[in-house]
């Protein structure tokens, strides 16, 4: 890619020029009555944040340009001969919906038509005994259903060292030597057989490539919140991915799943160190994917993104609450990169990826600070020099508009925020196949408008939550490793109210303060205040699968997987639906009551003996209680201790 340096310089120049123009414009307004301290702070914050949204705007514009001109975003040749490489498809899981996981694996297997070049590994880190036993049973069932030539392996790790990255490392150290490539999936991700085969051919033909990331499209949710995200990902996502691919070239990034990796390269250069110090900034690296990509690039390997390959899917969080819970984890992981962004030897694009991740979360408290400072400035400003009326009716609330410069600035900010969405929507409308896959031009336009309204209301809620996350992380609070909730469900109102009352209270307080001290500026803050004031109903209603279906019936937020047929998704959802009734059994108890389940469990324990730290006396007492059928008071830890110890299970057997 000889012209990649020119693209990067052009991008940087455009971001710098637009930011400089914006900052100068604001400075023109603020300097009239002299710059005071809050105004200097305001200008500094504005410069950072305007630069941040300009970068996002130009990235999307570059992406739109690359797509319009048909630029080759992945300039790699593909091998034509049948591949003789061995690829492991890895699904690391942690207390996930077992039926969903195995249905996904079966769907991918079916899509590959039992291609012998691919082996499947379910790499379980589950700490819940019910999940553990259900996984073993489901593995045995699926193994029985697949042809004998298909290889489906299951491994349960008894100690979750290093979380997900440790899980993958454990695979590499034990079985990595058997494979050329590995495809890492997430519990909710799917990839089509054709995409997997193409990835292997690309890796075969490009021996300097260590990783190809296929950006996943969001699919599979029926809640209103999930469907809105899916629509945004389907319409706006490709433009951003194309921009990123066009700028990063062979020094790309890794998103942790839906990617193929060269095992040899990863094993030689992807081993993560522990950072000195304690969490949240020290210890295990939480957001491992960015760092692994940076290490591979540092070692001279190529890391690519393939936005045009398609056939890569994952599910979004079903509710606002699940979204923000995930954000809390990602926030800590990205802020931890503050320790790594200046680490020795990394290449500049890798540092930029890390910095962008940090800025995704650091921008929230900066926005909050900017809003507070600007409100204070508006409230305390004595000058009325740059005062103009808007329109012909002086009684309008918006008569606070200070000057045409400010209006232009507000217009420019709106353009930077909504311009990419508009461009992506128009590009989708312009493409006949894509337009009809999204329900037609009218439906697409209505959906884009509704999505923009929703995201405008959601933005201040996310800003406040993320600011709180950053604040607590800076104070040293560590997040745990909780399983993700991936089920569509209507959140109970009281639960939502308990979580979002601070947002509502902040909205009420801010409205009151603005009304009291800066009534003229209230109009400017209405979109922001509305989001905060409506946080509770917004979170509750958007979690509704019923409303999601109503929107679908009204042709709102339609995506290609809903209007057309995608085999891997259809197979996965059909298999999940067919086996959904199996979810209510007492799986740990089955080990005691069912000889076959116990035999299977003991066999798998024998193959991978568990390290059990429980005292022998405690184990003996648990075994005695189990033998007498007194397991109703067993805790999760009791079950895990008993199920991890073959001798105790044998004692129960009597």
């Amino acid at each position: 890619m000889p012209d990649i340096a020119a693209r990067r310089w052009l991008f940087l120049s455009l971001v710098l020029v637009s930011t400089t123009i914006g900052v100068l414009q604001l400075w023109q307004v603020l300097r009239i009555d002299g710059l005071n301290d809050p105004e200097i702070l305001l200008l500094a914050l504005f410069a950072i944040l305007f630069g941040w949204i300009s970068a996002s705007f130009w990235l999307a514009l570059f992406g739109a340009w690359a797509k319009l001109t048909g630029a080759r975003l992945l300039p790699l040749s593909e091998g034509s001969a049948p591949s003789r490489s061995r690829t492991a498809i890895l699904m690391p899981i942690y207390n996930e919906d077992v039926i969903r996981v195995f249905s996904g694996v079966q769907a991918i297997h079916d899509c590959l038509s039992g291609d012998p070049g691919f082996d499947f590994y379910i790499l379980s880190d589950s700490t819940d005994p019910a999940h553990w036993i259900a996984e073993e049973m489901e593995w045995q069932r699926l193994r029985g259903e697949l042809p004998e030539t298909s290889q489906l392996f299951y491994r349960h790790r008894h100690r979750n060292i290093g979380r997900k990255s440790g899980n993958i490392q454990d695979f590499c150290e034990n079985w990595g030597a058997l494979y050329d490539y590995m495809v890492v999936l997430d519990a909710d991700s799917l990839m089509s057989g054709e995409t997997l085969r193409r990835l292997v051919r690309l890796m075969d033909a490009n021996p300097r490539t260590a990783l190809i990331q296929v950006p996943p499209t969001l699919v599979g949710r029926s809640s209103l919140f999930g469907r809105i995200q899916q629509f945004a990902s389907s319409v706006y996502g490709p433009v951003y991915s194309a921009g990123l691919a066009w700028l990063q070239g062979p020094q790309g990034n890794y998103w942790g799943h839906n990617a193929i990796l060269r095992v040899r390269a990863f094993m030689a250069h992807g081993g993560l160190p522990k950072l000195p110090g304690k969490p949240p900034f020290g210890g295990e690296i939480m957001s491992h994917d960015f760092v692994e990509a940076a290490l591979l690039v540092r070692a001279g390997w190529q890391v690519w993104m393939a936005p045009d390959l398609g056939g890569s899917f994952e599910e979004p969080p079903p509710t606002m609450t699940d979204f923000l819970k995930r954000d809390r984890r990602w926030c800590q992981g990205n802020l931890q990169h503050l320790r790594i962004v200046f680490a020795q030897g990394l290449q500049m694009p890798s540092r930029l990826h890390l910095a962008m991740g940090i800025m995704s979360y650091a921008s929230s408290p900066l926005w909050l600070l900017l809003l507070i400072v600007s409100a204070i400035d508006m409230g305390t400003s004595k000058s009325d020099a740059p005062f103009r009326y808007l329109g012909r009716i002086p009684q309008l609330t918006l008569t606070v508009s200070h000057a045409p410069e400010l209006l232009m600035l507000a217009g420019a900010t709106l353009l930077l925020l909504y311009g990419p969405k508009l461009a992506a929507t128009l590009a989708t409308i312009g493409d006949r196949a894509s337009r009809s896959a999204h329900g037609g031009g009218g439906a697409l336009l209505r959906s884009a408008i509704c999505e923009s309204v929703f995201s405008t209301l959601f933005a201040p809620v996310a800003m406040l939550s993320q600011s709180w996350f950053v604040f607590t992380i800076l104070l040293g609070t560590n997040t745990g490793w909780g399983a993700q909730q991936r089920q569509d469900r209507l959140l109970p109102f009281w639960q939502v109210a308990r979580l979002y009352w601070p947002h509502t209270l902040a909205g009420i307080l801010a409205s009151g303060l603005l009304y009291r001290f800066a009534p003229g500026s209230l109009g400017w803050f209405i979109p922001l205040l509305a989001g905060l004031l409506l946080a509770i109903p917004l979170a509750a209603l958007s979690s509704s699968p019923g409303l999601g279906r109503v929107a679908a019936a009204d042709r709102l937020f339609l995506i290609p997987s809903e209007t057309g047929s995608l085999p891997v998704l259809e197979t996965a959802s059909r298999l999940t639906a067919a086996r959904a009734h199996d979810g209510e059994r007492n799986f740990p108890r089955l080990v005691l009551d069912d000889n076959d389940v116990r035999a299977l469990h003991l066999q798998l324990l024998r193959n991978s003996p568990a390290a059990n730290d429980t005292a022998p006396e405690r184990l003996a007492s648990l075994a005695q209680a189990a033998r007498e059928g007194r397991t109703e008071n067993f805790t999760r830890q009791d079950w895990m201790a008993l199920l991890s110890d073959a001798d105790s299970l044998k004692a129960v057997e009597g």
Binding site: Q151, F153, A177, A268, G270, P273, V341, A343, L602, N607
Partner: protein
Amino acid sequence: MTPAPPRPIHFFAVMFGEFAALPISIQGVGLMDSQGFAFHSAIGAPAALRNVPPVQIKAMPEQQLVPWTPARLLAAGIAWLMEETFIPAAAVRADRRA
């Protein structure tokens, strides 16, 4: 022609035969106690059931990642300040021909 009846074997003869293998039997009982797994396959799962391929252990080396710390940044800053500045030599113009 009727087949010959099976040769009668005296019960005690069988029992004495087993006595000869008694040490092995005792060892077997000991193994049943200490390595119970070996006897479980008969219940349900076949003995050949493998959930993972045989391991081929190969360690992943931990990468050197020197993170940013205030001390390191300070040290780097001081080193940069104390670094010998390169002063280019004055340009010499050849006014005269040699």
